[in-house]
């Protein structure tokens, strides 16, 4: 689906604010992938992510009048989604029996057809073309779930979903400084955690053993 032009989006938001569900659904179609993706990466479970995503869109529609133009609508939506996901995570944390773990490869309904071997374009290659093996994806997801919730949210929004620092700040309702700090700490932790799984990493990605922070 092609990206909505800015004024189209503004129109849709305005109509949604007047109660037009069809207009809001246009926005849902536009943003559901990134919402689902964010929520999934936060929680690690496909079904739960689907429930929370649906809930998030309902909440967003109910609260649409509180959206002020001028800030990123995407960040506004993801604020709602990530808040709900974090709430869910915290609730689940109190009931250890239901802790969410990354599903094994067989249960994933989506598994993109990736090669078991890694594909990497040349040394100056375009990172976007890189495909990760399923095992590596699982490990990254697992390690993401070991991050403290605030660092996890910041990393997912910025590094996984591509939001700007400004948008991350809006979505998490914190300052740029806080965003910066959380992102850097999350990255450092992730880097350290991934060192334990070096064999899965692309060959020239083997992290050195230096541990300077």
């Amino acid at each position: 689906m092609s990206k909505l032009a800015r004024d189209d989006e503004e129109q849709l938001i305005a109509r949604s604010q007047r109660g037009d569900v069809n207009a809001f659904n246009q926005l849902v179609l536009q943003y559901q992938q990134i919402m689902y993706g964010t929520v999934f990466r936060l929680l690690g479970d496909y079904d739960t992510a689907a429930d929370v995503t649906q809930e998030a869109f309902f909440s967003a529609f109910r609260a649409i009048q509180s959206y002020r133009g001028g800030s990123s609508f995407r960040a506004w939506l993801l604020r709602i989604g990530s808040n709900l996901a974090c709430d869910h995570w915290r609730r689940v944390q109190r009931r250890p029996a239901e802790s969410l773990e990354v599903l094994t490869a067989e249960e994933e309904p989506h598994a993109p057809s990736v090669l078991s071997a890694l594909t990497m374009s040349g040394p100056e290659g375009n990172p976007e073309e890189m495909l990760l093996a399923q095992e590596l994806q699982d490990v990254i997801q697992q390690e993401l779930q070991h991050l403290p919730l605030d660092q996890r949210t910041a990393i997912i929004l910025c590094d996984v979903e591509g939001l700007s620092y400004e948008e991350v700040a809006q979505a998490t309702e914190t300052s740029l400084g806080t965003v910066r700090s959380r992102i850097s700490r999350g990255r450092a932790r992730l880097r350290n955690a991934l060192q334990a799984h070096q064999e899965l990493l692309p060959r020239n990605y083997r992290l050195s053993s230096s541990n300077n922070e």
Binding site: F58, C86, D159, L194
Partner: protein
């Protein structure tokens, strides 16, 4: 090779990677990086980590998340933290929560939250809190914040009255025979009355309210005052020596004052063991409330982000 005795922090390198720095800083860091192998290595590792994260694919959508066409919701004004309550028609927001919104927009960046912290048992606030609890955690937090603010303000108010009107709740003025009420701290008033009533000189204004006097010297006098409701003349009769006399007027005054107080307007209430007739008691309660209120305000901050 890196001859540097300082290195860029992970946070700095991370910001450098994302171009979050000023032009100057960006240039500065680049210069350091060109000369420092260690930092280059760290930067490389950071970059690799970010690339890995970038490369995570979007999970495939299991279905469409569009809302049913007949969805009708009562639109809510400003919600800072939205709970998932599907298809329950929400009652219109009370002004209570709307007033709490600006208070909620406080300094951000505070992490950590806990729920269900105990609050000083103010009856009014408790009743309101119980009513509001049923509407969900979000509104509960808002109410807690409001209550904490009220508690803190009450604490400040008590403190101010304690500092400015130490005798406000008492009838010291009548017993002390016209000692000024407004600005004089209680001990001074009592000592002034003492000097008027007896020839003994009471120089220091140390806490005459509490009979913290050399026990040996005043024991007999104290017993005497306990029996007698205490006019200074009765006192003087019991105290032959001038030396022990000096403390005694200080001892007698509070008792005398309190005796007069019994006939005066009803004593102020005693809350949580703090006697509101005493400025120390008001100040103590005021400080307690202020601390409780501040704690409540911090605990119920809006942004609930937990660090594990």
């Amino acid at each position: 090779m890196s001859q540097h005795d300082w290195h860029l922090t992970t946070e700095q390198l991370s910001a450098y990677l994302d171009r979050q720095l000023s032009e100057e800083e960006q240039k500065e860091y680049k210069i350091h990086l060109d000369a420092c192998e260690q930092c280059r290595q760290t930067l490389l590792e950071l970059r690799q980590t970010v690339t890995l994260l970038h490369a995570l694919p979007q999970p495939r959508l299991p279905r469409s998340f569009v809302l049913p066409v007949d969805t009708v919701v009562t639109p809510l004004p400003q919600e800072e933290h939205i709970e998932g309550q599907l298809s329950n028609p929400q009652e219109p927001q009370k002004t209570l929560e709307q007033q709490a919104q600006p208070a909620g927009r406080m300094a951000q960046g505070v992490e950590g939250e806990t729920e269900g912290q105990p609050v000083p048992p103010l009856l009014l606030a408790e009743a309101r809190a119980r009513r509001e609890q049923t509407r969900g955690r979000r509104t509960g937090r808002t109410v807690m914040r409001l209550m904490s603010g009220l508690v803190a303000v009450l604490g400040i108010f008590l403190l101010i009255t304690a500092l400015n009107f130490p005798n406000a709740a008492t009838s010291m003025s009548t017993s002390a025979g016209g000692a000024s009420v407004a600005s004089a701290p209680a001990p001074n008033a009592q000592s002034r009355a003492a000097t008027r009533n007896s020839a003994a000189q009471v120089a220091d204004g140390t806490s005459a309210a509490t009979p913290s006097i050399k026990p040996a010297a005043t024991q007999p006098e104290q017993e005497a005052t306990n029996d007698v409701a205490g006019t200074p003349s009765a006192f003087a009769a019991n105290n032959p020596t001038p030396a022990p006399v000096t403390p005694t007027p200080r001892v007698i005054q509070p008792f005398q004052a309190q005796g007069n107080q019994a006939t005066a307007p009803p004593a102020p209430p005693v809350i949580l063991f703090f006697d509101l007739s005493q400025p120390a008691g008001r100040a103590g309660l005021g400080i307690l409330l202020l601390i409780a209120g501040s704690m409540g305000l911090r605990l119920f901050r809006r942004r609930p982000s937990l660090t594990d």
